[in-house]
Symmetry: C2
Subunit: 252 residues, 2 copies
């Protein structure tokens, strides 16, 4: 690595850094919650709410809500929490990061089963995995599982032998962080393609008439795109707490 | 900034760094050219080739080719060329970076006019700007224009007063680089939503039968997603030539 730290304590932040930090925290929280609330509103108000396999068409509605809730809101919050939390001991931040990502798993599993059921139980059955959305979605899920298993063993289980695994963990931090951001960006791309195909299939020619539902679907997509920009900005900023010198030895 | 450079000459790269560099250069070149070639093949072989306003439906075909050619192939190559070129004086790299981005402008303008014409001259006319694809596309075009004008004045025109503008230009480098990557990611998101809606509109129920055209459209989308990953990886690596000490004073 060609870089090394210069002196910077945790309290050396100026007014501008604090302002930027607060803007990122507030904006990303609004967008993370906003994406989920808009999706819930869309599904409940326009798409008939929720059901399980007794009504496959309505069962589908669990798919966008749980995927946006899991891959965007929970995962996005988990990434930001790890990167921006300034007030907890680092091991607690790591455990919370793992916990929020673990909460994503049931969301994704149920969301995946919901769309699978809604295709297979439809009359006639709808084929699976033929859209670009499903291709990107499968890659996103695969990367998420790899990242979770890899992160769990490398950054939590390997702590049992803290000194012996230090250099290995140190080398793995940028890989885990980069692939984490890639997974989040792929999740955003999956969402916008999914929203596009749902808008076209369900609204048909009404989509071009600027109907309320079309505008809400577009607004969900725009919120997710904005989140992709804000989160990639937040995790790459050099003045985020996770880069501060005080955390270097304990954050691996 | 909490970082500073340690000693690292241009020749200190090990075998692994060179291997990684070559893999990134070869892979990204294949993907950049592949995305354009696949789009050309799709449009010529399945969508009837090219025309201007005498045939609005065929005129549309210029839109995907010129947008992928401009926003993905030319812009992606321009970003990678700036970041990875090791053999030219830095001012030539900057001029080439500007030139390739300048070549993007006519592609985007003609591509935009093509879709506009194909909507307005259709019978009946098709409304504009109601899809998520068009919303993300407008933001991408706006950001591209801002980045081009900002970059041209800050990093080329301001060189007339090289010493007086040094600190200003130095502060602007990370902003231009970050928003450049954001613009490229937005272009990728615009492409995959555009491909999704075109596949559904044009193929209809045949899309679910794994037709050749559907697979080719998905393959174009998958190539563009892979490019998003490879390019974000390439520009963020700390051992890319643009971070080497030797360039620091002349690369602003």
């Amino acid at each position: 690595m060609p870089w090394r730290y210069e002196e910077e304590g945790d309290n050396s932040w100026g007014c501008a850094s604090w302002f930027e930090y607060l803007v990122v925290v507030v904006l990303s929280t609004i967008l993370l919650v906003g994406a989920l609330v808009l999706t819930l509103f869309w599904v409940i108000y326009y798409r008939g709410g929720f059901a399980w396999s007794e009504n496959p068409e309505i069962q589908f509605n669990l798919h966008p809500v749980l995927m946006v809730g899991g891959f965007i809101t929970l995962s996005g919050f988990s990434i930001l929490f790890y990167r921006l939390c300034r007030c907890l001991k680092h091991i607690y931040v790591k455990l919370a990061h793992t916990f929020f990502h673990a909460c994503t798993i049931p969301c994704v599993v149920i969301g995946f089963l919901a769309v699978f059921d809604s295709h297979n139980l439809a009359n006639p059955p709808i084929p699976n995995f033929y859209t670009l959305h499903s291709w990107i979605g499968l890659v996103t899920m695969g990367l998420f599982v790899l990242q979770f298993v890899f992160g769990f063993f490398t950054f939590l289980v390997c702590l049992c032998c803290e000194n012996g695994t230090y250099s290995c963990r140190a080398a793995m931090v940028p890989i885990h962080a980069s692939f984490g951001l890639v997974t989040f960006m792929l999740a955003c791309a999956t969402c916008v393609t999914g929203l596009t195909q749902k808008a076209i299939w369900k609204l048909g020619s009404a989509y071009s008439q600027w109907t309320e539902e079309g505008i809400i679907i577009n607004a969900i997509g725009a919120t997710i795109i904005a989140l992709g920009v804000v989160i990639s900005f937040a995790v790459r900023r050099s003045n985020a707490p996770a880069t501060a010198k005080v955390y270097v030895t304990e954050r691996l």
